[in-house]
């Protein structure tokens, strides 16, 4: 569905380097790809795709291959913190909407970037959006992705930061040729080393132990019962010999109480 846009928008999509879950190879990050897709649908040509890191990184070409003529890269070393550089750049550019992924696929993946940028720029932040439905008179209507496939509508004034959920439309296919031909512009950036991070140790993830069902029984009889008996929930309310109308009413009340209707 085409969004209903009644004004020209400056949009920045922030992208990071993704990591394939099985092979660990670098790739276009899933959510960042969606952020670019959403930005392209909204902003058309006024979209800036921004990365903070190494401009030589080949994975950036997979974003460019979505049909971008150019990309901006804030030139940073691996130990540098991306947030000050991004905040500084955005402060100067003053876009209307900044789109990010929810969590990066590499590094700390704390998901803090949108929040920290919003705090520094003093903008509102919307987490996990599925779509931007319309923008009118400087107010955007945003569709939030809730758990269990639910959606919530929000209105928020421009400018704002939003992180894009997996429920957003999928990123279009990336073409190799245009990706290689696209221009990648390295920009000088504020460099601030991430000092906290140097005190960490990183290791390959260990599988988490499964939680065992521990039976805290004091006597042999209790242990025997726990091992053999069917787990019995406390018996619920049974409506028997009651007219169907009352039964239905009772069920309906429960549904109302649980707020599922």
């Amino acid at each position: 569905m085409q969004p209903n846009i009644k004004q020209s928008l400056d949009i920045v999509s922030l992208v990071s380097i993704g990591q394939h879950p099985q092979s660990g190879r670098v790739r276009r990050a899933e959510q960042d790809g969606r952020a670019v897709e959403l930005g392209m649908n909204l902003g058309g040509d006024n979209l800036t795709v921004l990365h903070a890191g190494d401009p030589q990184e080949q994975a950036l070409r997979t974003y460019a291959g979505m049909g971008l003529s150019s990309m901006q890269v804030l030139n940073l070393d691996t130990q540098d913190d991306a947030v000050p550089a991004l905040a500084d750049y955005l402060q100067q550019l003053r876009p209307d909407i900044v789109l990010t992924g929810v969590r990066a696929e590499s590094g700390e993946s704390s998901g803090m970037v949108p929040y920290l940028l919003a705090e520094k720029l003093n903008w509102p932040v919307v987490a996990r959006i599925a779509d931007i439905v319309s923008v009118e008179d400087g107010v955007a209507e945003v569709m939030l992705a809730l758990p269990r496939g639910q959606r919530r509508a929000l209105k928020v004034a421009l400018p704002f930061v939003a992180s894009v959920d997996n429920a957003a439309p999928e990123a279009r296919q990336s073409a190799y040729g245009p990706g290689i031909r696209a221009q990648i512009e390295p920009l000088a950036a504020v460099k601030e080393e991430d000092a906290v991070r140097s005190n960490w140790s990183e290791a390959k993830a260990k599988p988490r132990p499964k939680r065992l069902k521990v039976v805290k029984a004091k006597t042999a009889a209790e242990r025997f019962k726990a091992a053999t008996a069917k787990p019995q929930g406390e018996a619920g309310k049974v409506l028997k010999g009651v007219p169907a109308k009352e039964q239905a009413q009772e069920i309906f009340n429960l549904l109302l109480e649980e707020k599922v209707i």
Partner: protein, 416 residues
């Protein structure tokens, strides 16, 4: 008094020894055999045997020489065990937990995190209290056994629905008044991550997210899409994964209310427009919140589909309904179908075979409609209606349609 029936060796000994001066007062099994009026020996079946430790009657094979003291003392079923109270008078520090309270109740992740908070409090010097900050309507009754020492409950329309900015303002107020040692949030899509991230950005703290092994000194958290373990010093703000620690189960806690000074109204930049109706059947079955499931006991399928649409429920089915061709295969719930996580599962005409029950193991509230009051689904259900499915669904359909109509009218009045 303890429920366990104990033997009294002295009484048994007296009962065995007919020459003992107290033998007459104990007299076991005396009444089991009496001589009837015609001179015949009669057995009194009520006096035969004794009640065993589990309240079950046992045949006395010791011919009255056994557990004399056990006689006549019936156990009154398992008694409610009162857990010991864990109280903290003047806490030296606080650890604050902000549970998700999905549907107004603590989730299992919330409970694990309360357990984690107690684990950390125990290791830190001094006496710490675990504070839970709850927003909006709460239906939870077991804060005490979940490990809440202090409760800050913030209610009111400003906290209803989607209100991260107001909630953040309240948390900042908690920060200034309690100066908590740690903030623990569930790392979940139910709002915990969002709120935790907002607080971390506001306070300028660097949080640990996706943490799963935490002591008060070191934290191990996941990074790089679950492929990396990061070990670091435990920060003040933590967002914890599921099953990070064991929930509290051996103590009771005080749940003393803490009143906050007035929380300033936050400037609301995100205006909530309410939840949007989505097609319930477009939601994947495994994620659906409310499922209306059909089994072999459904005979009017048009009515079933109509009811599901009126209630706004996602449709599910048992294997029999699928095998008979009434429902598509991807709607099957159970071992060979989908394992569902619905909060409310309404099972109509489903007997509750074990293969089906496995699939609904994670459901919160099960409601059964069945003709057979003895079937397994009724035993599992929190509410069961015994009767014909067609009749009850018909009434339910009527109620749902009335409810819709009323809501529509209200909406129109509000608009007018």
């Amino acid at each position: 008094m303890s429920d366990v029936i104990r033997r009294d060796p002295r009484a048994e000994w007296i009962a065995r020894n007919r020459l003992h001066p107290l033998h007459g007062t104990i007299a076991v099994g005396d009444d089991a055999e009496v001589r009837g009026p015609s001179g015949l020996l009669r057995k009194n079946p009520h006096k035969v045997g004794f009640i065993g430790p589990n309240g079950i009657k046992r045949i006395d094979r010791l011919k009255g020489n056994g557990a004399a003291s056990g006689m006549g003392r019936r156990s009154s079923g398992p008694q409610e065990v009162q857990l010991p109270l864990h109280s903290v008078e003047n806490p030296d520090f606080y650890i604050v937990v902000v549970p998700d309270l999905v549907g107004g109740r603590l989730t299992s992740q919330d409970k694990d995190i309360l357990g984690q908070a107690h684990k950390m409090a125990k290791d830190i010097e001094g006496k710490g209290a675990v504070v839970a900050v709850c927003f909006g309507e709460s239906k939870e009754e077991n804060y005490d056994t979940a490990g809440v020492d202090r409760l800050i409950h913030l209610e009111g329309e400003e906290y209803e629905g989607f209100s991260p900015e107001q909630r953040l303002a309240a948390l900042v107020q908690v920060e200034t008044s309690l100066q908590p040692k740690h903030w623990l949030f569930p790392d979940s899509v139910n709002g915990g991550t969002d709120l935790g991230s907002r607080l971390a950005a506001r306070l300028g703290e660097r949080p640990a997210v996706q943490a799963w092994q935490v002591t008060h000194e070191t934290t191990v958290s996941r990074g790089a899409s679950q492929s990396l373990d990061i070990t670091r010093e435990t920060p003040r703000i933590l967002m914890l994964l599921e099953e990070c620690a064991d929930a509290i189960d051996e103590t009771r806690h005080e749940v003393k209310a803490i009143e906050l000074d007035s929380v300033p109204r936050a400037i609301v930049q995100l205006q909530d427009q309410g939840q949007v109706a989505v097609d319930p059947n477009a939601i994947p079955l495994a994620e659906a919140e409310f499922i209306l499931s059909a089994g072999n006991g459904i005979h009017n399928w048009d009515q079933f589909h109509e009811t599901a649409a009126a209630l706004g429920a996602t449709e599910g089915a048992s294997r029999v309904a699928v095998d008979d061709g009434f429902m598509p295969r991807f709607r099957q719930v159970g071992a060979t179908g989908t394992w569902v996580t619905a909060r409310v599962y309404l099972a109509v005409g489903i007997s509750g075979a074990i293969q089906h029950m496995q699939g609904i193991g994670q459901c919160d509230k099960v409601v059964a409609i069945n003709t057979d009051a003895g079937c397994d689904m009724v035993k599992r259900a929190a509410l069961s209606a015994i009767g014909d499915s067609e009749e009850i669904l018909g009434e339910l359909l009527k109620l749902a349609q009335e409810h819709r109509a009323n809501k529509g009218e209200e909406g129109e009045q509000n608009a007018a």
